[in-house]
Symmetry: C2
Subunit: 131 residues, 2 copies
Amino acid sequence: MIFKEGDSFEIDYEVTEKIYNGFIDIFNDRNPLHTDEKFAKERNFTGKVMHGAILTGFLSNFIGEGLPEKNVIVLSYKISFIKPVYLGGKLKLFAAVNEIFPSVNCINIKYRFEDPARVTVSKGEVSIKII
Amino acid sequence: MIFKEGDSFEIDYEVTEKIYNGFIDIFNDRNPLHTDEKFAKERNFTGKVMHGAILTGFLSNFIGEGLPEKNVIVLSYKISFIKPVYLGGKLKLFAAVNEIFPSVNCINIKYRFEDPARVTVSKGEVSIKII
């Protein structure tokens, strides 16, 4: 087991135009909250709200590319969206190994995404298995 | 409240080349499990395993586009990956309203993705708020 409890990771992400437009192109979620500035502002957001599932894409990147072990598969994601994220939003992912199950080669990671003001905008857990 | 407990929805999805390649292009998760056929087969999968977060993209589509109410925002996703999904995989999403919190305009939806053999490959919950 390459991981130990408390191992921690930090990665910077940004919701770029490429990611936002690409996400809409492939998943076709054009809900007005995500695409209509006026609609979003009328509901007290400061702009188009980015799709929460974009942050799940960042988690995929973190697990697949950001760990010191490439032989991994995701068992489950939990993600809560605490504050809206807007286009161009810069996020820092903080993740730490929370539990280790050595007999089955599984680990549970807790994470949060912080904005540049150090406010947590999203948090959750990922369970993975080393394969 | 437009929703009532037990309201159910079905939508067909498919992990096309466009979605697979687009996901990799925007999120840059090139973990060998997802990109290297030989690596995946050596670990007893029948081919490259699709990114779990692609299914979260389908959930985004379902919530944003597939409900009879457009004034919605996702509070949280939970998703478990029970069986691998491969390129070209056809999935049917079955979702049903599980709990309603009328005083705060929130609902909880339970869902599963089935493959064409009616095997559940993924399941979880989405909580949303009507805004």
